[in-house]
Amino acid sequence: MRKHVFYATAALAASAALVLSGCSAGGSGDGKAPIVVGSVNTKSGPATFPEASLAAAAVFADQNAKGGINGHKIDYKALDDKGDPATASANAREIVGSDEAVAMVGSASLIECEINAKYYEQQKVLSIPGVGVDTGCFDSPNISPANVGPFNDMTLTLYWGSEVAKLDNICVLLEIAGSTRPAYQKAIDTWTKITGKKPLYIDDTVPYGASDYTPYIVKAKDAGCKALAINPVEPDAIAQVKAANAQGWKDVNWLYLTSVYSDNFAKAVSDAGAGIYVPAEFYPFTDASSDINKDWRDLMTKNNIPLTSFSQGGYLAAKYFIQVAEGIKGDITRESVTKALHDMQPITNPMVGTPYTFGTAKVHDGNTAGWPIKLVTGKNAWELNGDDWITIPKK
C-alpha cells in the first residue's frame, strides 16, 4: 500500500515539476546568442531514422568547434515523435514556439512534414529535412528535403529498370500508408510519360509489416512479371525476397528504393534472384574507395554514427544550412534565415546528383538523380552499378 502511495506522490510531483519547468520563460541573453535549430524525428518504435539527426548534430558540433556561424554557437535540438502525430505536433510547437528556432534542419520522420507543414507556414519557419519520407515533405512551400524521396526514387527505379536494364513486364507492388497512393501514381505516370511504358499491373494492397508475402509473390510470378518495383521498408523487403526464395523464383529482378540500401539488408539477403537494383539517393556510401564521401565518412566514424543513407541526408541538410547561414549579413534570426533560404543560389555537392535549392517554389521535389547500385546473389554486399548519376529526364 505504501508503495502505491509512493508511486502516486512521485508521479504527481514529477508532473508538477514538468509543468512548472514549462512555465518558466526561456531566456536567451543578447550578444552572442546561440542559434537555435531543431528537428522532429521518428527515433523510437518499429521504424526509426535516428541517424539523420545524429549526423546533423555532429556537423553542428564540428562547426561549433570551429567557432560556430559568424561567431554564434549552434544549439541543436532533435526530438522524437515516436511516429505519433500528436507528439510530432507537440515537438514542432516546442521547437518553434517555445524554443524559437530559426529553422528546422535534419528532420527524418514518417509523418511530421504533413502534420506540421501548415504550422511551419503559420510560424514562417522553413525546414530542411535530412530524410523526407511522407508526401508533405515534397508538397509544401516551407519544406525542401535534402534527399530524393520515395516518389522520385520510384520513378528513377522504374526508369533504370526499363531504359538501362531493358526489362519489360515490370510489375509495381505498393505498400500504401496514409496519403501516398496518389503520389506514387504520379511517380509511375511520370515514368510512363517519359518512356511510354506501363507496368504490367499495379497491386496497391500489399500490407505493411505482414509476416508473409508469399501470396503476393505467387500472384506476381503467375502473372509473368520479370521485374518487381516495390516501395517497402527494409523488413518487408527482406520478407518479400525470402518469400520468392522459398518459391524457388530465381530469375526475378528486384527494383527497390533507397529504403533498403543498408548493410543490414545486404547481410540478410543471400539469394537476390536475378539481382536487387536500387537508385541510391546520395553517392553510395558503401563505396569506401571514393573521396566523395570522405568528409562525411570521417565525421560519422569519429562520432560513431552508423553509415547509412539517412546519415548522409542529415549531414547534407546541416551543411546546406551552415553554408546559407554563413552568407547572412547581420543577425541570424528566423526572418533573416528564411530570406536567405528563399534567395539562395543552388548548392552543388558531389554527394548529390542534383544541386540543392530552396527558393520560393510552391513545392520542392526537384532532387531527381540517383546512383545505380546492385546487390547480387551470394555477395551479401552492395556494389556500384554504373559510373554516373541517372536523372529523371524533364519531358
Binding site: M1, H4, V5, Y7, A8, A11, A14, S15, L18, V19, G22, C23, K43, S44, G45, L79, D80, K82, G83, D84, P85, A86, T87, A88, S89, A90, R93, E94, G97, S98, L110, I111, E114, I115, A117, K118, G136, D139, I176, A177, G178, S179, R181, P182, T205, P207, Y208, A210
Partner: protein
Amino acid sequence: MRRVSGTPAARIALPFIVGAIGLAAGYLLSVSLSGYFVFLAVSAVVAAIAILGLGIVTGSAGMIALCQLTFAAVGAWIVSLLNVLNAPGGFIVWLILGGLAAGVVGVLVGLPALRLRGVNLAVVTLGFAAAADVTLVQIQFPGSTDGVSVLRPDAFSDDRSYFFFSVLVLVICGIGVYFLQSGRWGSSWKSVAFSERGTASVGASVPGSKLTAFAVSATLGGVSGGLIAGQVGLPFASSFTPIQSLALYVLAIMSGAYLIDMAIFGGIVWIAVPELLKRWGIPQDWGFVIFGVLGVQALTSGSNLGQSIRNAWWKRQAEKRPVELAAPLAEAAGRDAVTAAPPATAPAPADPSAAPVLVVTDLGVAFGQVKALNGVSLAVPPNTIMGLIGPNGAGKSTFVDAVTGFLPQHTGSVSLDGRDLRGLSATARARLGVRRTFQQDRVPPTLTVEAYVRFVARRRLTIAEIDDALAFFGCPTARTRLQNVDVGTRRLVEVAANVLARPRILILDEPAAGLSHEEHLELGARLLQAPARFGMSIVLIEHDLDLVRSVCSTITVLDFGEVLASGPQAEVLADPAVMKAYMGETEML
C-alpha cells in the same frame, strides 16, 4: 442520522459541483501553461477519456477489451469524413456522431463475444484491433490524401481554447459516467463482472449488461478519437495501433480506471512517462517496458492504485464508524411500518381454495447418467411458506436451478400462476416473478447496499421503503459498502433485496447459513410476516428443523432426487418414511 451528502439533492449536485471545479481548473491551466504543455495536456485529456471508457468495460464489467484505440479511430474517421463532406453542425456535432458511431461498432464487436466466455472476448478485440489497423493504414483517413485538415470548432480554434474545450468534454463525460455508474447500468456491470448467474437471477439481462458496457466504453473511445482528429488536424493510423491499445489497457488496469479520478490520473501518466523519459534522455522505447512491468505488478498484486488509496481511506472511515445496522424510521401511522401489524407467531395455513402460485410437474434433471431429479412434483400455495428439506445431495439446489431457468435441459414442466415457463430464460423467469437467492455468495461486493437493493428490486423504490426493508431484516444501512459486510449479513441483504422486488415466489437457498442460531430464528420470524405483508410465497431450503417448523406451513422432502413427501407440515414431519430417510430410524421428533 443521515448525512447531508446522502440526500438525493446533494447526490445529484455533487458531480456537477466537482465538474465545475474541474472546468475552472482547466481554464486556469489553459491560460497559464506554456504552448507546448497545453498541446501535451490535450493529449492527456484525450487519453483520460479513452481510459474512462476502458474503466467501464474492464474495471467495472470485468471484461478484457484490447481495442479501445480502434474505437477511437472510428470516432476520428467519422469526424474526418464529416469534415471533408462539410456536414452541417460543426465539430461538436461531428464529435457526438463520431462517439455514437464508435458505440455502434462497439456493440457489433461485443455481439459475437457474448457467447464467448471471458478471455475469448480479449482475443476477439485484439483481432479486431489488428485487422482494423492494417485496413486503416491502407485506406487512410478521409481528407488526408488532399491534406484537408479537420476544422476545430470556431470558438475553440487555437491550442489553448481547444484544450479548454477538451476539458469541457472530459467533464461532461465524467459526469455522464458518474451517473451511469451509480445507476442501474453501473450496478448491472459490476454484478455481471462478479457473477453472471447472480445477474440473471435478478432479472437483469447478462448479454444486455455486457453490451451496454461495450457500447458506453466504445462511445467514450470514439469521443477521444474525435478529439485527436481535432488536435492534430490530420489523423494517422499510427495514433491508433494495437500495441498502443494494449498499453492503454495496462494503464487502465494499473490505475483502477473505473474510478473517474483515476482515469484522469491515468491520462496524466500516459503523457508524463514519455515526457520524463525525454527529459532524462532515456530512449522512448523504455516507456512501454515500464508500462508492461507496472501492469504485471498491478495484476499480480490484485489491487490497483486507485483502489488502494480508496481502501486506505475507507478503512480509516470504517474504523471511526463501524458498520451500523439500519434503524427503522419511526413514522406516522399509515405507513407500512414493522411495528404496525402484530407479528405473526405461527405459519399461516394454506388456503386450499386458492390456485397455487408455482406448480411443478414431473420435473427431471439428468447429468449424463446421473439422475439428479426424477419425477418431482409439487405445488406451492399462494402466500405461504413451503419448506424444502432433505439430506445433502438430495437435489434441492438442482431443483431451484431448474425452476429458475438455469438448467434449460430439464424435463417436466414448471408453471407460475398457471403460465408455463417452458423455453423462458432465467432472466425472463426472474422478471415474471420467480426470484431466488443463492447458497454461494453472489452479492457483488463492489456495490453499496442501496445500489444493490435497487438493482435487484427492478422497480422504483423510495428511500423509506429501502430503509424499512433493511431494518426489517436486520441489514446494515443503505450507504454501507458490501465489501465491508460479512458474508452472512450479505445473505440477509440478498433476501431483503429480493423481497423488495415483490416477486410472486421467492426461493431461498439456505439463507441463514453463516448466521448464529438465534439469528436464524430471528430471520424466521421476519420471514413469517413476508407473505402477508408483501403478497408472495416463499420456498425455504433449510437444514435447521426448528426454523422449518416455526416458519413453514407446508413442507416437501426430497431424497435422492425424488419427492418423499409433500404436504402440510404436521403430516410430513410425522411421516415415518421421512423420519427414516432424513433423521435415521432411531431419531424421534
